[in-house]
C-alpha cells in the first residue's frame, strides 16, 4: 500500500486547488447568470417586438378580411350589374337611302360591366391572397413567440440547474476545505503540543530533500486515513485508550522513506542524511555518523486523533573517542511510541520515564516505552556487544537477558493501556512478550572494532529485514521469550 507524504503545504495547496476550482465554478455560475440575464432580456425584447408585429398582422389580417368582404360584395354587385345588362342591344340604323332598320350590336355597357366584374374579381383574389399572407404571417409570428416563451422557460430551468450544480459543488468544496483545514490544524496542534515545535516556523524540520529549512513541518508524514478519520475521532480525548484508537490504526508499512527529522530523545533536534556527522549531547554527549536512513513506519495512537505520523530513523554508527574505543553503544531506534513533552534524556536510569523515540547513546542506554497509551510498530535495531546484557524490564520487574552480541528487530509493539505487547525478532527467532516493560536496557561494554563490525553486519541484516507491522498475524507463531 503506497503511502505518500502529505504535509501542511500539501494540505494548503490542495485546499487552494479546491478553492480555485470552486471559484472557477462560481465564475461560471456568475457569468452564466449574467449571460442568462442578457439572454432573457434579449428574448423578452424580441418577444415584445414580435407581439407588436403580431398586433399589426392581426390588424392587417382584419383589414384584409374586410377588403375581401368588400371585394366580394363588389364582385357580387358587378355580377348583378352584368347580369342585368343585356349582352347585345338593338340599334336603329338609317341607311343611305334614308331607310331605317334595326340592327343587333354588342352592348358596350355589358362589356364595361364585364370588365368591372373582372376587375372586382381580381381585387377579391388579391385581397384574399393578402389575407392569406397575413394569416400565414400571423401564424409564423405566433410560432416564434411560442418559441421565445419556451426559451424563457428553458432558460429559467437551465439557470436553476446550473445554480444548483454550482451551489452543490461549492458546498462540497467548503466541506472539503473544512476537512483539510481541520487536518492542517490538527497537524499543527500535534506538532506544537506534542513535539514542542512551533508549527508555524517548523524549526528543526526540513524538507524531504534535506537541508532546506522551510516554514512548514514537511518531515511529518500525514496520512490521508487520518485525515479521513479525524472527523470521527475529533472528540476522543487526547489520552484515549488503545482500544479506542486501534480500529483506526493502519496496518501499513512503507519502505524506502528516507526523509525525516532526526529524533533525539523524543524531540526533533537535527536533520541528517547519510554520511552526515552529528554531534549531540545526551547524558554526556556523543558523536556519531548517520549510517543510513532506515525505512520506517511506526504507528502511533496519539493526541486527539490517531495517526501514523512517521519519522524516518537515522541509523548511526558508533564513533570512537579518538582512542579506538567506542565509548557508546549505538542503536537505531525508530520511534515506537508517543513523543511527548517529557523529553530530554538525562541519563540511562531515568530514561524509562522518557517517552520513546530517538537515538539513544550511552554506556547504559535505555530505550523506554511511553507511559501513555500508544500503538507502535517499527524497527528497532539494538547493538548488543559481546559481554553486554540487554535486559527487558517486564511487568513485575521480571527480566530477560538477550544473548550477547545480538541485534534484534522489534517487529511490533502494541500498547494496551499501560501494558505492552512486544514482538521482536532475534537472530531469526521471533520473540514476543507482553507486560509492562519499563524499558529496554542496554548494558554495553566498550566494543572492539570487531564488535563494531559485527554490529554493523547485524544491523545491516536487521535493516534488510525492515519492519513488519503484522504483529497480530505473527503472534500465533511467536514464542513468549519475553515475559
Amino acid at each position: 500500500m503506497a503511502k505518500a507524504n502529505v504535509d501542511t503545504d500539501d494540505i494548503i495547496r490542495l485546499s487552494d486547488g479546491i478553492g480555485v476550482q470552486a471559484d472557477a465554478m462560481d465564475s461560471v455560475t456568475e457569468r452564466f447568470c449574467r449571460s442568462s440575464d442578457a439572454a432573457e432580456s434579449d428574448i423578452s425584447a424580441e418577444l415584445g417586438a414580435l407581439e407588436s408585429v403580431e398586433r399589426r398582422v392581426r390588424a392587417g389580417e382584419q383589414k384584409a378580411r374586410l377588403k375581401v368582404v368588400e371585394a366580394q360584395r363588389e364582385v357580387s354587385e358587378r355580377s348583378a350589374v352584368l347580369a342585368s345588362t343585356p349582352r347585345e342591344i338593338e340599334v336603329t340604323v338609317t341607311d343611305e337611302n334614308g331607310e331605317s332598320h334595326t340592327e343587333t350590336r354588342p352592348n358596350p355597357a355589358y362589356e364595361a360591366a364585364e370588365q368591372a366584374l373582372e376587375a372586382a374579381r381580381n381585387r377579391l383574389a388579391e385581397c384574399e391572397r393578402v389575407l392569406d399572407a397575413f394569416t400565414a404571417l400571423g401564424n409564423r409570428v405566433c410560432e416564434q413567440e411560442e418559441t421565445l416563451r419556451g426559451a424563457l422557460k428553458k432558460l429559467g430551468a437551465l439557470r436553476s440547474e446550473l445554480e444548483s450544480a454550482g451551489n452543490s459543488l461549492c458546498a462540497a468544496a467548503e466541506n472539503a476545505r473544512a476537512v483539510l483545514k481541520k487536518a492542517g490544524n490538527a497537524l499543527n496542534a500535534y506538532l506544537s503540543e506534542n513535539i514542542g515545535m512551533d508549527a508555524d516556523t517548523g524549526g528543526g524540520y526540513v524538507r524531504r530533500d534535506y537541508g532546506k529549512p522551510v516554514s512548514a513541518p514537511h518531515s511529518v508524514t500525514y496520512s490521508d486515513s487520518v485525515y479521513a478519520d479525524m472527523g470521527e475521532f475529533r472528540d476522543i480525548p487526547r489520552r484515549a485508550s488503545y482500544d479506542d484508537a486501534r480500529p483506526r490504526i493502519m496496518d501499513d508499512c512503507s519502505e524506502g522513506e528516507t526523509e525525516g527529522v532526526f529524533i533525539y530523545a523524543g524531540r526533533p533536534r537535527k536533520t541528517a542524511r547519510t554520511g552526515d556527522s552529528v554531534e549531540e549531547r545526551a547524558g554526556g554527549g556523543t558523536k556519531f555518523e548517520v549510517y543510513s536512513l532506515a525505512p520506517v513506519c511506526e504507528k502511533m495512537a496519539h493526541g486527539p486523533f490517531f495517526t501514523n505520523f512517521r519519522y524516518a530513523a537515522e541509523m548511526c554508527t558508533p564513533q570512537t573517542d579518538g582512542e579506538g574505543i567506542m565509548p557508546y553503544d549505538a542503536l537505531l531506534f525508530v520511534p515506537l511510541g508517543g513523543i511527548g513533552k517529557e523529553t530530554g534524556l538525562k541519563n540511562a536510569e531515568t530514561a524509562d520515564r522518557q517517552l520513546s523515540g530517538g537515538v539513544f547513546f550511552g554506556r547504559k542506554v535505555t530505550a523506554a516505552f511511553p507511559s501513555a497509551p500508544a500503538d507502535c510498530a517499527g524497527t528497532m535495531l539494538v547493538n548488543v556487544p559481546k559481554g553486554a546484557h540487554v535486559t527487558v524490564l517486564a511487568d513485575g520487574g521480571s527480566r530477560i537477558e538477550l544473548p550477547v552480541g545480538s541485534a534484534f528487530a522489534v517487529r511490533g509493539v502494541r500498547a494496551y493501556g499501560n501494558k505492552y505487547e512486544i514482538m521482536a525478532e532475534l537472530a531469526g527467532r521471533v520473540i514476543a512478550g507482553c507486560g509492562q516493560p519499563s524499558g529496554l536496557a542496554l548494558l554495553p561494554e566498550k566494543p572492539s572494532d570487531e564488535d563494531a563490525d559485527e554490529f554493523m553486519r547485524r544491523v545491516d541484516a536487521a535493516r534488510r529485514s525492515t519492519c513488519d507491522c503484522g504483529v497480530a498475524a505473527d503472534a500465533g507463531s511467536a514464542s513468549k521469550s519475553i515475559v
Binding site: M1, A2, K3, A4, V6, D10, R13, L14, G17, I18, V20, Q21, D23, A24, M25, S27, V28, T29, R31, F32, R34, S35, S36, A38, A39, D42, I43, E46, A49, L50, S52, V53, R56, V57, G60, A64, K67, C127, V130, L137, R140, T147, A151, K154, L155, L158, E161, L162, S164, A165, G166, S168, A172, A173, A176, S223, D224, S225, Y227, A228
Partner: protein, 85 residues
C-alpha cells in the same frame, strides 16, 4: 436574433481544467487509501462540472435555436402586406 452565450463553453472548460488540476495534485500527492474520502469531493465536482457543461451546451443550443427569429424581418414583411391593402 443573436444571443451572446457569454463564452460559456470557455468558462466551463476552465472549470474542468481547474478540477483536473486539483485531481492531479490529489492523485500525485495523496496517493493512499483515503483517496476514497477525498474522491467523494472529486466525484461530486466532476458530476457538477458535467452538469454545468451540459447546461452550457443546452444554453448554446437554445441560443442557436433562436437565431432564425427576426422580429424586424417579420415587421418588414407585415409592412409590405399592409401596403398591399
Amino acid at each position: 436574433m443573436r444571443i451572446s452565450d457569454g463564452n460559456m463553453r470557455e468558462l466551463a472548460d476552465s472549470v474542468r481544467e481547474s478540477l483536473s488540476a486539483v485531481k492531479r495534485a490529489y492523485e500525485t500527492d495523496w496517493n493512499d487509501p483515503v483517496h476514497d474520502s477525498f474522491y467523494g469531493y472529486i466525484a461530486e465536482a466532476e458530476k457538477r462540472c458535467a452538469a454545468m457543461t451540459a447546461v452550457t451546451e443546452r444554453f448554446g443550443q437554445l441560443c442557436e435555436s433562436l437565431e432564425h427569429i427576426d422580429a424586424h424581418a417579420l415587421s418588414d414583411e407585415c409592412g409590405m402586406l399592409e401596403d398591399m391593402l
